[in-house]
């Protein structure tokens, strides 16, 4: 009986340690950049750079939704009106005492079109996921399921094989 209790405690401790371990994998780590000045800017590489920017921007979006704050690494993937929009939305939620818990999120990139100048690109994406809204610390009864098709305008950074998400328009 005592041995079983010991095993149970040990298993519980391991479980708690495991949970703690996973929860510390915070998203505040700066995502790696796709900047590679040496690589020749082939259309393929540029498209991949645009894809990376969209994925990193999605992480920024998740972070801002969860924390109502702009992470320091946001500017690596997001700039211009897109970043201004995030900043404004975070401030509005903060003022309204609203926190959002992201339960699940994903971004699907359906198409990327490079501008003939190779200096900008547009993409069609769909942001999906589930969030739970907390107003003044109290959770709303139901989680919200989101599915937002959007058009993304990306700008290339100088000569680099790197893009930033510049403007995002939700397609109604």
């Amino acid at each position: 009986m005592r041995r079983r209790l010991t095993y149970s405690i040990a298993a519980l401790a391991l479980l708690i340690a495991g949970c703690g371990g996973s929860s510390t994998s915070t998203t505040d780590d700066a995502p790696s950049t796709s900047s590679d000045a040496q690589r020749q800017a082939t259309p393929m590489a540029l498209e991949q750079a645009a894809r990376t920017a969209i994925e990193q921007n999605a992480k920024v979006s998740d972070y801002v939704l969860s924390n109502n704050a702009i992470p320091s690494w946001a500017s690596q993937s997001t700039a211009g009106p897109a970043l201004a929009g995030l900043r404004g939305s975070a401030a509005q939620r903060k003022r309204a005492g609203v926190r959002v818990r992201v339960l699940a999120s994903s971004v699907t990139i359906h198409s990327i079109e490079l501008n003939p100048s190779y200096l900008s690109a547009t993409a069609a994406i769909v942001d999906e996921g589930r969030v739970r809204v907390y107003k003044n610390g109290r959770p709303e009864r139901h989680a919200i399921t989101l599915k937002e098709p959007a058009r993304v305008a990306l700008h290339r950074i100088g000569n680099e094989t790197r893009f930033v998400v510049w403007k995002l328009t939700v397609v109604k």
């Binding site: 198409s111 501008n115 100088g158």
Partner: protein, 287 residues
């Protein structure tokens, strides 16, 4: 009976508050990023020129006919290809997609047309054509003096600026050279010349920009001293140097060409107070 209107008013207030509350924030992944249509952040890239047809012999001549529009088409619905090869689902949350392997170069069908002029326009927009500050002797702090030449020059002297952008073996170099500088001295006179030269005693060099003011203009003069001119500002004369930049480009690679772009003008201003020295005759000299 008396309580019911109060309750109704209370409910109405609560409803109004909740409606306002509900519309005051966004919780969407993408919709929270929809922001102002204009932002003051730098690094903006806009290609606004129209695209002439691809030059003959261009390897990209059969490429996309998409117009250059700054990359922000909004009216058209997105082309959603359900089983697009490039589709990449980030699932589960926060696990990035595996990087796609570098595929061999696709033939020309996937390659958009190269338009060196359009690239040059974009590069030219990125040139920060700073003209420096206007320096003066006597300095603005010391104030100029009527009847004595004031020297003006740009510091640092604006120089030719060049920027090169290489994109898929096409290399476009854009150069902005200082054309002329128009000096407007604030008292109604102006001259067109160069960037000026800093003051040095002795003979006046050919490139020096000098001006002799005839009327004083000190802070506070306007409205108080009837002798000042109407162009005298609150802090002195407004001296302006407008630099005109001639912009040209040279492209090499699949499309080799050269040309010029519309000139640009940038300017610097300072407030330059000018005082006067009056001589007075005094009686009883020598006694």
């Amino acid at each position: 009976m008396r309580a019911s209107p109060l309750i109704m008013v209370g409910v109405a207030v609560l409803l109004t508050a909740s409606c306002a509350y509900a519309t005051s924030y966004r919780v969407g992944f993408a919709s929270q990023q929809e922001g102002p249509s204009h932002a003051s952040v730098g690094a903006s890239v806009h290609v606004s020129s129209s695209v002439p047809s691809a030059p003959a012999g261009s390897e990209a001549g059969a490429g996309s006919s998409e117009p250059l529009g700054g990359g922000e088409p909004q009216s058209s619905a997105p082309k959603v290809a359900p089983e697009a090869e490039s589709a990449c689902v980030r699932e589960p949350k926060r696990i990035p997609c595996a990087p796609q392997p570098e595929a061999p170069e696709q033939p020309a069908k996937a390659r958009p047309a190269i338009n060196p002029e359009a690239i040059a326009v974009t590069v030219a927009d990125r040139l920060s054509l700073g003209v420096g500050k206007i320096a003066a002797s006597p300095s603005a702090q010391a104030t100029g003096l009527t009847g004595a030449a004031s020297w003006f020059w740009l510091e640092p002297t604006p120089a030719t600026q060049t920027q090169t952008l290489a994109s898929h073996s096409e290399q476009v170099t854009v150069s902005a050279t200082v054309g002329s500088v128009q000096w407007i001295f604030g008292d109604g006179s102006q001259l067109t010349g160069g960037a000026g030269e800093s003051y040095r005693p002795g003979a006046v060099p050919a490139g020096a920009v000098t001006h002799v003011y005839e009327t004083r203009c000190l802070p506070g003069d306007q409205g108080h001293d009837p002798s000042v001119t109407a162009s005298c500002g609150a802090n002195g004369y407004e001296v302006r140097a407008a630099v005109e930049w001639a912009i040209s480009y040279r492209a090499s690679g699949p499309v080799t060409t050269a040309g010029t772009l519309p000139p640009r003008a940038t300017e610097a201003t300072i407030d330059y107070p000018v005082s006067e020295a009056r001589a007075f005759l005094t009686g009883g000299g020598g006694q």
